[in-house]
Amino acid sequence: MKLHEHLPAFLVMVPLLGAFLTPLVASFGRVVRNVFFVFFSLLTLVIAVSIGMSVFGGQILVYVMGGENFALTLPSGMTYPVRILFEIDAFGALLILCIALAAFAGSVFSINYMDRFSGWKRFLSLYFLMTAGALGMCATGDLFNFFVFVEVSSIASFGLIAFWRDKPETIEASYKYMLVSQVAALLLLIAIGTLYGRYNALNMSALAAMARTGTLDRVVLALIISILAFKCGAFPMHAWMPDAYAETPSGVTCLLVTVSQASFYGLIRVCYSIFPGVAREGTVGWILIVLGCMSMFFGVMMAVVQHEIKRLMGYHSISQVGYMLLAMGVGLLALDGRGNAAAYGLTAMKGGLFHVMNYSIYKALLFLCAGSLYYATGTRDLDKMGGLARNMPWTTGMFVVAAAAISGLPPFNGFVSKLLIYESSFVVHPLLPAIAMITSVLTLASFVKVFQSAFLGPAKTKFIAVREVPAGMLTGMMVLTVVTLLLSLFPGWFMNNVFTKAAEALVDHEGYIRAVMGGGM
């Protein structure tokens, strides 16, 4: 048996195994539990990286569950695939890499961060389940399976948001997210069922090969777009996001960010790969652009006036998601345009995908920094903090890197991806880069405020005894800082070897179908 051929299965299997082994392992004491936690997250990261290495080479990984042969996508005598299968192309591998990185950093961080609290068995199980759900969403090639993974990650995240259940706010945040999320998930199931009723297939590639542009397809596409836009926090449906991000333990928040990125993956996959016929007509592109611009602007406007650090960052998440929606919408609109428009469309997509990775990494880092501040000072209120740079030099340094990256200051990676988005979105309308730049300025303004009120200023007497956070938390943050710096220093390498591949894989509708259907249909 060649092990590397089974990597897509291991990708979901390892965190799932971790989730169900936890109750057993956690009773062997603290050290065993911590080693187990970090080891399984690291193993997931290693699997993700090796999947990335083979996929960015130009290959699409397909893995069939329960077949006579894991490469046999079409069972004998059938013209379309009926089994559950995983299909990972460069775009999926990019998201998988982000999720695995955030999960690893969050696990290392949580070892010290959660040490003061009980309920470790539940925490670990839910953490692994959420990782498995998010990874599965990006790996699966089957729409119903996608729904199942959405639910796995959502239910785990409801549990984790309400993890500190002695605080009323956590329960409230969890309930609000859960209510809307459940409505959305059940409507998603209706949409998927409708597709099954129309095409007798649930496989994404088979659907992509058969999809037409009728009324029913449009209704389904509209439902899926609004549901997944809700899940990734687009403007009119974003209200759960700051609540949930603020109340979750920080090690989990950094994973929640990437879970919402997995929903973004689903949204883009459906638009680009399954319904390109409808999506490239123009309306869908404009819908994504309008959602993106509203999220960018209103998200950052709300962030400027917040004074609770994690809530502020939660509102920033909304505005960052807006950049990606904008870039992908521009891609949809410009790809079929005349002249240079197609090239600009591809640039916008590259910028958007670069931003996906940047956002997952620096946003996770920012949430971990906020968690460190909470750990050290016991408050999340910026009004009460101040002068902490003297006590926590490492946290300060890493916060500065992340804040500069998210505000798009050169030479950090956020600048590069934003530059690509600015310089390509004007093809559609010159107002779009203007809104994006205003958003960027306001982002910088609010992070200057966080930096000023938390780290600078005179030392406060009640924080004299504050010390730098423990090594585990610093290590978790350091992992993400190093990745941010790598992305900043070698953007060209990542662009050529990762983001361009991902953008091309996304545009290559035929290739996505061919990987599963072969010559059939």
Binding site: A222, P236, T283, I287, G457, P458, P491
Partner: protein, 112 residues
């Protein structure tokens, strides 16, 4: 080139940026070194000046809280913020309503 990314108009190169950053820092530091040299350490020049009053021991009494930053911006944008704050009402059925309405709007737009 590992540090270079081309967009439609030109390119971004990290190492070029570092080169110019070093160049400009050199000139800035050079100009700075031409400035006045009469600052004395550990003299009265080191003291904090707080409107002529005695500086309080606890920094909490002289720091500006985060809620007060960008006060002018918030006041200028008051009408917008009134709408935005009313929008984030905290009521879960409102949030469900926003979702349903958005889904309906998106559906309508795509169908037309």
């Amino acid at each position: 080139m590992w540090g270079q990314v081309t967009s439609g108009f030109g390119y971004w190169d990290v190492f070029t940026w570092f080169f110019f950053f070093a160049l400009i820092s050199f000139f800035v530091l050079w100009v700075r070194s031409l400035g006045r040299m009469d600052y004395k350490r550990n003299s009265d020049q080191d003291e904090i000046y707080w409107s002529g009053n005695e500086v309080p021991e606890d920094g909490a009494q002289i720091s500006v809280p985060a809620s007060s930053s960008y006060w002018g911006f918030r006041v200028a944008m008051e009408p917008l913020y009134r709408i935005l704050l009313a929008f984030h009402s905290g009521n879960a059925s409102d949030y469900a309503g926003y979702f349903v309405v958005t889904a309906a709007l998106v559906g309508l737009l795509i169908l037309l």
